[in-house]
Amino acid sequence: MKRFAVYTLLILPTAAFLRADWLNFRGPSGSGYDSSAENPPTELSEASIAWKTPLPGRGLGSPIIVGDRVLVTAASGPEQKQLHVLCFSTIDGSPLWERSFWATGRTMTQGKTCVAAPTPASDGKRIYALYSSNDLICLNLDGDVVWMRGLTLDYPNASNSLGMASSPIVADDTLVAQIENDSESFAAGFDLLTGINKWKIERPAAANWTSPTLLKIDSRTVVALQSSKGVLGVLPDTGSPVFHFDDGASTIPSSAASGDMLFIPSNGMTAVKVAANGAEPGKIWNESAQRPGVASPILIDGKVYTINSAGVLSCAEAATGKRLWRIRLKGPFSSSPVAGGNGHLYVFSETGVGQCVDLRGKEGKVVSEIELNETILGTPALTRDSVYVRSDETLWRMSAK
């Protein structure tokens, strides 16, 4: 019996260690870097494709991974009014379940984006899928419907004719989503179990495609809500303001956070340190030349990386903003890069070229490429040993062999 107890003690932590989830847009804290993703493939090639599986309709939201399940959303049919949540096995890509719904809000988008643009989020037990139609649907990991909201039904002018793309995030016990647009613009915290508003705050009436990022300040989780006006930090449980940065910010690439530091696509790039006392964040540096394009910046081991609209990847010191090196990638890019604990960055161009960049040397180096021959607009996801990426038509898993 004692031996059994010992073996159990040994196995359980190992099992927990082996499970590597990617629970929302740009993974942990919504910032694109997961140090526990230690062994995704650095050799991207046909041989690295573990499996691929077809998808219906259109979608550019990232895959999310919860245990042995990978989930994506899609929208299909005339005017993309059929919404899908699809669940596949991470092992072999076999379909586990699919749920379909009718859009209750407006599905008009500009041609490049689509209705299934936001990435779903998960708290490890449930999936929260948001669409440009402002349908917000919660399912458990077996596909049981837990709750639904039609946010345009509730707030009829909450929509954007160009399409909405902000992805929700789970912060402590609250699902936070930015439903920001030119008209009825707000951010809200939803109860994880019922979908009822825990809070709802008015936001600048301006179109905004950025997604919330999580900060840790004095062990408190703070949600950074970015908009054209700047960044508002709020407590996830109540929406109460903690800090505000009012120098303006981009409405497309989102911020990256590390602890109490926030790297904001503002006037190029601006790094701020957020104080626990609610004082205006201290500006650490601003570099106007480091202007991200569509891709969101990423912070890895004391360095901040941006990809500009010309497809150039820049590396700068996080402490000072001083640029260290630049390399040209094969762009253009609509998706954001992600990086793992193996010191490599992964990014996929619109033309379907996946690139792996080794960041460990004096200068970044593209060590492998794969041509997927499909348009890739969505950001990839990482787990301990794999890269997941999707196009409209296909979901791939790439693993080290």
Binding site: P78, M108, D144, V146, W147, N157, S161, S183, G195, I196
Partner: protein, 393 residues
Amino acid sequence: MKPLFSIIAYVISLTVTTVGGLAGDLSEAIATIKNVGPEGMGNAEAANSWKVLTQQDSSAILPILSAMKGSSPLAQNWLRSAVEVVFQKQADAHAPLPTDQVKQFLLETKNDPRARKLAFDLLTKISPDTARSLVPGMVDDPSTALRREAVALLIDKGASQMAASDQSGAEKTLQKALDAARDVDQIKKIAGLLRNKLKQPVNLPEHFGFLMYWKIIAPFDNTDHRGFAMVYPPENRIDLDASYPGKNGTVSWRDYSTSDEYGMVDFNRPFDPLKGVTGYAYTEFDSKEDRPAELRLGCKNGWKIWLNGKFVFGRDEYHRGARIDQYQLPVHLEKGKNTILIKLCQDEQHKPWTVEWQFQLRVCDSTGTAILSTDRKPTPTKAATGRRSQRNR
């Protein structure tokens, strides 16, 4: 004998209770789901009821489909997903499926259109040939989703007839397709074939029900978007002989008609491309009867709509794109004269894509079938001069 009879009676009573109980559970679960309301109201109860529904066997499929009639959009989604789960479980277990009942449900046009399309999808999984055989008969179906399938077949048939040089056959087929089509993409495709390949005239404004004749007045001020909320005189009273102080001087109503086949009312034509301005467009619509209808608007400027003096909806979004049927506004038409007033706001952006100051409006029913004014005038012919309006495609 008595104990055996008692046992049998007891077992029967249990079965009746169980079946009755299950049926009761089903009705109660459906009722709970139909009660979901705004802002997440009823979600927790609906989740429990959804579990009850998805544990049923295939006998629950028809009641759940039937329950979609009169349900809210959210409730319909709960019910839809429940039906699909029940169906899939039964299919995976190779259990019998209610094929005939699903088919009968589909054929009954009084059932909810979405539920019928769902029934069609289920029937397609059970018996694709049976489902396919029903499609040609759906060309006038009240469900636009089902009608779309039938129209697609007609388009294919028309194209085949053209390829076989059967011009007369193709004309008849494609005209039938056009009469039936309600989705914009199909209408445009058919119109293109009829006009470009078969040289047949197509009256798109009449097919869609676009309103082509207006009285318009502008410009009032919309500097800093303030005009959107400002109540200018036309919002208080329509006096087509009146003049008012406008942004750049006195303004008064003038006649306007559009020959654009998608009904585009282009304020830049009579007023030149102005910035930071507001205008109004007014028209009257004579309805044959009291009836529900939809006003369907396409517009990339700020706008408001009133019907019979009552505010319907408004939106202060600028230059994020426009398309036909962008906004679908349920209204009620009165028998006889109905007045429609549109407020159209242009902002102060100067990028090339922000020039348009225009809208298109049509009146139709919930299936997109045009409702025409009893005194509808002939579609205007193209203007001989003047700037061509930007079309919503």
